[in-house]
């Protein structure tokens, strides 16, 4: 046949177009193979949008830190205050915690109670270790007279890093709830969807920490 390819395509689309209006047969982007998306996809996508809005909120804290980071008011600066060894250990804890959170997701997909609980326990312990190290750092700063009220730089620092710490604290509470729910209610679809949201939350916190350790600690102590 000597019909140009473009004509073939448009003829094909003309055949398909009337069907796009019917939800059961739609093949448009976002409609999948057939019908409305399953609940796990709708929930996952909705939570992804929430996480992005949470990241937008964090960006405001990052912006204020970037603006106020050099306003020391005669007080101590990043180079005198931050201990990079401590930051490296914190980073390792959170990264490994994120890794075990992913492994726990695989255990959930396999419906293995013991592996799920073990992986979640490790996730939680590493998250708690991160939080303890961060609180110890905050305590030392305040004890040395470098609390949030010392300078605009320290106000912005405590607001940004403290906000991330508050998220990790909330995540640990959520993690404990997930362990209890998997134990008490088993691998019900709604519990698994909740876990999908938790794992997204936990990984997103690690992404925000990457920005914090790079911009606040590493670049801060370098300049």
């Amino acid at each position: 046949m000597s019909v140009p390819a473009t004509n073939l395509r448009s003829a094909d689309e003309a055949l398909e177009l009337p069907r796009i209006g019917v939800l059961e047969h739609a093949h448009a982007t976002g409609h999948g193979d057939a019908g409305p998306a399953p609940k796990s996809i709708v929930v996952g996508y909705g939570f992804w949008v929430f996480l992005l809005s949470d990241i937008v909120m964090f960006s405001a804290f990052f912006a204020s830190y970037a603006v106020l980071g050099t306003s020391l008011a005669g007080g101590p600066g990043p180079a005198q205050l931050f201990d990079l060894t401590n930051v490296a250990i914190e980073t390792g804890c959170l990264l490994l915690s994120s890794f075990f959170c992913g492994l726990a997701g695989i255990a959930v997909a396999r419906r293995s109670q013991s592996l799920t609980q073990a992986a979640l326990l490790v996730t939680g312990l590493l998250g708690a270790a991160f939080l303890i190290l961060e609180l110890r750092e905050f305590g030392e700063l305040i004890a040395h007279g470098a609390g949030p009220s010392r300078s605009a730089f320290l106000s912005a620092f405590f607001a940004l890093v403290g906000c991330h710490g508050a998220h990790v604290t909330a995540g640990l509470l959520w993690l404990g709830t997930m362990m209890a729910q998997f134990y008490a209610k088993g691998f019900r679809p709604d519990i698994s969807r909740r876990y999908l949201c938790f794992s997204l939350f936990w990984h997103a916190l690690d992404i925000i920490w990457v920005a914090i350790f790079s911009l606040v600690y590493l670049i801060g102590t370098h300049t």
């Binding site: 982007t29 929930v43 890794f99």
Partner: protein, 133 residues
Amino acid sequence: MSRQAIASERGSGHDVAPGYTREGEDAHVVADVRGYVIGLALAILLTIASFWAARTHEIYEPGIQAALVTLAIAQMGIHLVFFLHITTAPDNNVLALAFGVLIVGFVVFGSLWIMTHLNHMTVSMDQMMQMQR
């Protein structure tokens, strides 16, 4: 070629939620674990590179900031791909991410731009004292 054929040719006609793991019969445990291990290894490498770049004197000094920002963005990409499983599948996860990045860019760079200009234009407290004398 129908849209369905195009979709299957690309390997995915399904929408996928971020962070989604194949379940039950479809679970691919070894492949999934491998994905997380690769992600962890790359993230560790980039973290070590960041901490090294911050302390070393082997990099051209003014370039270190740019290097650290680049390494951070690379590591965020690794997290998104290997941990959050953000792909270019025909769903809207990447589109939502792009919108989020756009707003983050507006907020951060917009704030910096405006505030540095304000700093530049505003008479500082020291100069004010000088003028009053």
